[in-house]
Structures are given as C-alpha cells and as structure tokens.
C-alpha cells in the first residue's frame, strides 16, 4: 500500500510543468491527481459496501450451502419469507422498537439539550456525564445491565421489593423484555442526540429569544414559536438517523445477542438479529440475504429521500 503514494507523486510531478494559466496539461495533471486521490476509498467502498449491497439483492435468489455452493432457486426465499411467522414476528418487533425508540430519543435528546443548553461549568459537567454511556462498548453495556437486572438478587429487584412493588424477571418476561431493551438503548444513545440538538440550538440567534421576551412571550411560547421551527433541520437529521439506528444500528444486534438472544418468546427478536441467526446459526445464507435485501432497499429509499430533502446533504460547491 505504501508504494502507491510515492508513485502518485512521481507521476504528478513528471507531468510537464507548464506556464501558469489554464492549459490542457495542467488540467490533465489535476484529473490524474483527483482520480488517484479518490481511488483507494472509491475502490474500498465499491468492494466492501457496494459489493455486499448488490450481492444481498442477488443472493436472495440463491440457496447457499455452508460450503459456499450456490443453486438458483428463483423466488423461493421470498416465498418462504411470506410464510415464515418468525419473519413477521421479527418485523413487528422491529416496527414496535422503532415506534418506541425514535420518539423517546427525540424527546430525551431535545429535553436534555434544553436543560444543559447554557454554557456553565456545571452544565458542561452534566453534558459530559450524559455522554459517558456512549463511550462504553455495547457488549459491556449489555453485561452491566444484565447484572443490574438479574432475577431476585439484582439491584433493581432489590429496589423494587424494597418499594413493595414485587420482583420481576425484567429480561425473561415477554411483557417487559422489549421495553427494557428500548430503555437501555435510550440510556446508551441519549448523549449523542443531546449533542446533536445542542449543535442545532447553538445556531439559533439569541436575539430572537430576547425579542420574544421583550414582547412578553412565555418560555413555552418561545419554545413553540422559535426553537421548534428553527430546529427543523436538526430535527429532520435526528429523526432520520434515529430511525436508521432503530432499524439497523449496532445496538440492534449487540444488545440482543448478549442479553436476550431474541427471547423470551421471540419478543426481542429484532430483524437484524433474526437475519444473523438464519445465516450464522442455521447456515441459511440465501434466506438471510433475501430478508436483508428488504432492508437494503428500504435504506436506499431513505437515502434518496434524505438526499432530496437536504439538497444532497448541503451539496454546496465552492
């Protein structure tokens, strides 16, 4: 890898140095440099992201054995999906998870950002503390919460029985497990969304609030009339990113794999985890790819939407 770059430099410098101004050789020099600079990443993304994306769309039409033998099966995998109750289960669990997580992250993210908005030392300290969970790995997060939620002797159960609320099997009871997973996800992710909202809040000119205050607007009024409308771009970004995170963020796999394995009674079987199970536990690569392709198409759709609504994510050329 290291050899490529001296060569690049050589190639660029070997080009005839021409008088200043706009000449063809100068332009060619720039072309060559541009392509060479973009090449490593373009190639890598093409192979390791683009490739799998296309592969997941086509792999769904094959049956793949554990040894890597492929046989074309047409729409069989997709037909099987429609008839697989566990697929529908994982889909409904995923949808419930999205419906719970996205608003929860929006509200906690914005709420916390509003609370720590003013730049004081104390607020800086609170911001830092709220972000700490983000820096720990999801495997550790899962293990720590598992300990706290252990049946009978876990600290939470000690606490609830001290309050005379009884004891619960938080991760083993189909009534609670998904909500517990949502709670832990919010605990883990809230600091990130708080920071994104803080970035957005900082961009709102302070004069607006002062003007509103002079006009006698209440705090609630200035929140509804100034903060929310002016936060719209940030809100859009947060909703988009948190939706994608709810569908396929790494917590959808890591938390489930370590804490519940999709159980109890498949109530935490998020789609990403179910796809993983089919592929790597049951060696059903073709079937897993077929299910994954649904999400790849969905995410591509979201990307197009995001692209259109943000004018290409601030595509401003100099």
């Amino acid at each position: 890898m290291a050899q490529v770059f001296p060569k690049t430099e050589g190639a660029v410098e070997a080009a005839p140095s021409s008088p200043r101004g706009f000449s063809l050789s100068n332009r060619t020099r720039e072309w060559i440099a541009g392509y060479l600079f973009v090449l490593p990443d373009a190639l890598g993304l093409l192979i390791f992201v683009g490739g799998p994306m296309l592969l997941s769309l086509s792999l769904g039409f094959f049956s793949v054995s554990g040894f890597g033998e492929y046989s074309f099966v047409g729409l069989d995998n997709y037909r099987r999906m429609i008839g697989d109750p566990l697929f529908w289960r994982s889909l409904s669990v995923t949808i419930l998870y999205i419906v719970l997580l996205v608003p929860a992250l929006y509200v906690t993210g914005l709420g916390l950002a509003l609370l720590v908005q003013r730049n004081t030392r104390f607020n800086g300290f609170v911001r830092t503390m709220l972000f700490v969970p983000q820096t720990v790995s999801l495997v550790v997060v899962s293990l720590v919460w598992q300990v706290l939620l252990v049946d009978k002797i876990g600290l939470l159960n000690q606490f609830t029985s001290w309050l005379h609320l009884g004891q619960y099997s938080w991760l083993g009871d189909p009534r609670f497990a998904l909500y517990v997973v949502v709670f832990i996800s919010v605990w883990f992710l809230m600091g990130f969304y708080m920071l994104i909202f803080l970035g957005g809040l900082q961009d709102i000119p302070k004069e607006y609030y002062e003007a509103a205050r002079i006009d006698g607007a209440s705090a609630l009024q200035s929140f509804l009339q100034i903060t929310l409308p002016l936060l719209r771009p940030t809100s859009f970004f947060v909703l988009l990113v948190s939706t994608v995170t709810a569908v396929c963020g790494s917590q959808t796999f890591d938390l489930i794999y370590v804490m519940t394995r999709g159980g109890p009674a498949n109530t935490t079987s998020l789609a990403i985890f179910y796809i993983y199970q089919q592929a790597f536990l049951f060696n059903e690569y073709g079937y897993a790819a077929a299910m994954a392709s649904v999400f790849v198409v969905l995410l591509m759709g979201l990307t197009v939407l995001m692209f259109m609504l943000t004018r290409g994510g601030r595509f401003t050329y100099d």
């Binding site: 973009v38 683009g50 799998p52 994306m53 569908v247």
Partner: protein, 283 residues
C-alpha cells in the same frame, strides 16, 4: 444602561437562585443515572463473590482477585493487543484514505467527481449489520476469514468520514494551496505539506471516534473470526460471559478492563469528542 434595567437584572439574578438549586439537584440526579451502572460495574469488579450483589457501592473488602483470575484464566493480553492493533491500523489507514478522497472531492476538478461523490453518499445509511451476510460471503471468498486483514480491511471504508472531511475542506481558503500549485508543487505535496497539517484538528477528532468505534465493535469480529488467537476483546468478553455464567464478579472485572481504555480516552479527549459530534449534524 438605566438603573431600572439594572434593578430588573438584580431581581432576576436573585430569583434565579432557587430554580438554580433545583437544577443542580436534577442535573446531579441525571448525571448519576447516566453513570451509575458503570460505577456498579467497577464496584463489583473489586468485590468478592459473597458481596457482589450487596447494595454497598464501596466494597467492604476490595481486592484485585477478580482481575488476577480473569488474566490468568484467559489470554486477555492477547485480545487487548489484537484489538489495539486492529483499531489503530484501521484508524490510521482510514484517515489517510478519507482525507485524500475528501480533499480531491472538495478541491480538485475532474470529470465524474460529482458522480463519484453521489455514489459514495449512497452508501451513507448502509450500516454493517444490514449487509453482514453478503459481506461475510464476500470476505470468505476473498480468503479473509480468520485473518488480521479480514478484521481490518472491511472496517476501513465508510462514507461518513469522507463526507465530514470533504465538508471541512470546502471551508478551507483556496488561496493557501493555489500558491503552492502555481509554484509547481505536485498535488500530493500540496496535500501532504499544506492540507494535512491544516486538517489536524478534524483528523484528531475523527481519529478518536474511529478508534473508539473499532475498539467497541462486536458484530464484525464475531463474524469474521473463529480462531481464538484472533479474538478481539468484545468477542472475548461475550464468550467469557457464556463460559462463566453467573460468576458476575469475574465478568464485571473483565468488562472493566475492556471499558477502561475507552473511558480513559473519553476523559482525556472529552472536549474534542463533544465538539466534533455537536457539529456533525446536517444543518
């Protein structure tokens, strides 16, 4: 300013006090809720088996036995080294590639530049869990199973870094490089001696984020390695947990060891991390 205005300010300041106090209490409770689980992790790591589930945060008889046990029972140093090696390599190579690509996409003019950027942007929302099955099959057919290359190479490429760096370079004044180009410096030299030093702040912020992300990553190392000698720490503690089911003091000691480097990094670089995330939202 008028006296009336000053008086109003003073009244306001006086009135703020009680609410301020309430906010201190709320702020402390929120902060405690955020970090309490991690306090208990560290606490349990120092506790003996008989008091693991005690309500005391400070162990009665703190000991390092759990840590000694973890390090003697499993080859933890090896897993830590693997993780460090992979994370550091991915971070360095990724920053090098992304800054080159970001610079070219922001600054150099060549046919197809916008198309290339758009294509890269199309992968923006595709996260690894979604493409894990085809990625695994691809990596297997490239002979990357159970190898450092398999752990490292697929983790290097992501559109996020390119996107942020390109955004950064768009804001850098053009005059700086133009002078050098006219002087006849090659583009690589302009990149190496002008652009790279300029981007030190954003590169160091991204370096921290990339390193943390790779240190904490679980799914890909779990999928691509079955050879224990290549395990990364997250895979190691997940399997340790299965092996020592219920021995929570050992599991918490292992977790503490794994979490410590990232927590330490956060403590040292918190300002930079927080600033870089605050500005990463699309506005």
């Amino acid at each position: 300013m008028t006296d009336a205005w000053k008086a109003e300010r003073n009244i306001e300041r006086a009135m703020v006090r009680p609410t301020q106090l309430v906010w201190y209490v709320i702020g402390l409770i929120l902060s405690f809720m955020a970090v309490a689980p991690l306090f208990w992790m560290v606490s349990m790591a120092f506790k003996k088996t008989d008091e693991v589930f005690g309500q005391n945060l400070i162990p009665h008889h703190p000991s390092l036995d759990n840590f000694l046990y973890v390090f003697t029972q499993v080859d933890f140093f090896r897993y830590l080294w693997n993780t460090f090696f992979v994370s550091a390599t991915v971070t360095i190579v990724a920053l090098f590639f992304h800054s080159m690509a970001g610079y070219a996409l922001a600054r150099l003019r060549f046919p197809g530049r916008d198309a290339i950027f758009l294509t890269m942007f199309a992968t923006f929302l595709i996260s690894q869990p979604v493409i894990i099955v085809p990625l695994f099959i691809l990596a297997r057919s490239l002979g990357l199973l159970d190898s450092y290359a398999g752990l490292i190479i697929p983790s290097i490429f992501n559109a996020f870094g390119i996107f942020l760096l390109r955004q950064f370079y768009l804001a850098v004044p053009r005059e700086l490089e133009e002078a050098a180009v006219i002087d006849g410096a090659g583009y690589f030299r302009v990149y190496w001696s002008i652009i790279l030093p300029l981007s030190r702040p954003i590169l160091s912020a991204l370096a921290i984020l990339f390193f943390l992300a790779n240190w904490n990553s679980f799914l890909w190392p779990l999928t691509i390695t079955s050879d224990q000698n290549l395990w990364m720490v997250q895979v190691a503690i997940a399997s340790f947990r299965q092996q020592y089911n219920g021995a929570w003091n050992y599991i918490m000691a292992a977790s503490t060891v794994v979490a410590l480097p990232t927590l330490a990094m956060f403590v040292v670089f918190q300002k930079r991390i927080i600033e870089s995330i605050k500005t990463s939202g699309i506005k």
